[in-house]
Amino acid sequence: MLNFYGVEIASRLLLGTAQYPSPAILADAARASGTEILTVSLRRESGRLREGQDFWGLIADLGVRVLPNTAGCHSVKEAVTTAQMAREVFGTSWIKLEVIGEADTLQPDVFGLVEAARILTSEGFEVFPYTTEDLVVAERLLDAGCKLLMPWGAPIGTGMGLNNVYGLRSLRAHFPDVPLVIDAGIGRPSHAAAAMELGYDAVLLNTAVAKAGDPVAMAGAFARAIEAGRAGFLADPIEPRDMAAPSTPVFGRASLA
C-alpha cells in the first residue's frame, strides 16, 4: 500500500479543494473521487466574513486527511512561516511545500525549495515538495530530509498532462523506492492513467476536476483512470515496437488464394 511518512493510504488520488462551483459540489466531488487526502491552504481571515470557519467545517465533515500547502509563497521565509501557521491550524506536520520562482509558469524555485525543505524538516515537518522532474534537485530534496517527491506534470492549471515523459520516467527509474506523486498539470483522466502507467505512486490534481463541466463525474472518472493505470503498471505492459506482429496465429491459416 502507498505510504506517506508512515501513513498507509489506499487511494492514489490526492485532490485539491479550490475553484469548485460550490462547497456542495466540492464535497460531492471529494466523495466521488474516493480521495483520502485533500489539499488546503491558508488565507487572511476577516472577523465579519469568517470564510475560513465555514470552509473548515465542510472539510472536517468529509473525514479525510488534509495536506496544507504554501501556495503563493515566493520566498523561503514566506513558505516557512506559512508552514508553521498551517501546522498549528490544521494539526498536521504534513506540508505541501511550494516555493514559486516564476510567475508565468509557477515553476518551483528549486533552490529556495531545497533550503525551505531543510529548515522545515529540522523543525519536524513532513515535507511534500512540489518540484520539477530534475534528478539533481530530487537528490538534494531527499538529502534535505524529504521522504517523497512531487514533480510537476506540467505548469499548474494548464491541463497539458505530462510535459516531459522522459524526465519523469528517468526520475522513476532513478528512485525506485521513493514515493513519487505527479502534482499539477493534469487535464484529463488519460493523463493521470499515463502517470500511473509510468509507475508513479499517486496523482495530485485540482483544476481538472474543479473546472470540468461536471466536477463530480470527473472526480469519479479520475479515480477509475488512476486505478486502471496502476493496475496496468503492475501487470507489466508490453514494450512498443516499430513493425506489426500478427496477434492471430499465422499457422493453420486456410489457403484461399
Binding site: 485539491g16 489539499t39 491552504s41 487572511r44 481571515e45 475560513g52 498549528e88
Partner: protein
Amino acid sequence: MKLTVNGDEHDLAAADLAEALRLLELDSAVVATALNGAFVPAASRAATALEDGDRIEIVSPRQGG
C-alpha cells in the same frame, strides 16, 4: 495604537496579540497569527506585546490546490 491587520490599517487599544484578536472578534476562530512576518503560536499570543506600527497577519483554512 496604529496596527496593520491583514493589510488594512486599524486603530486598536490592544496591549498584546491575544487582546487584538479579541477586539477583532477572532479570538474563538480557527486562525493562525504572524507578527511582522514571524509566526506567533496561539499559546504565545498573550505574551506577545504589540507596538505602534506592527503588522499582524491572521489566516484561516481556505481552499487550495
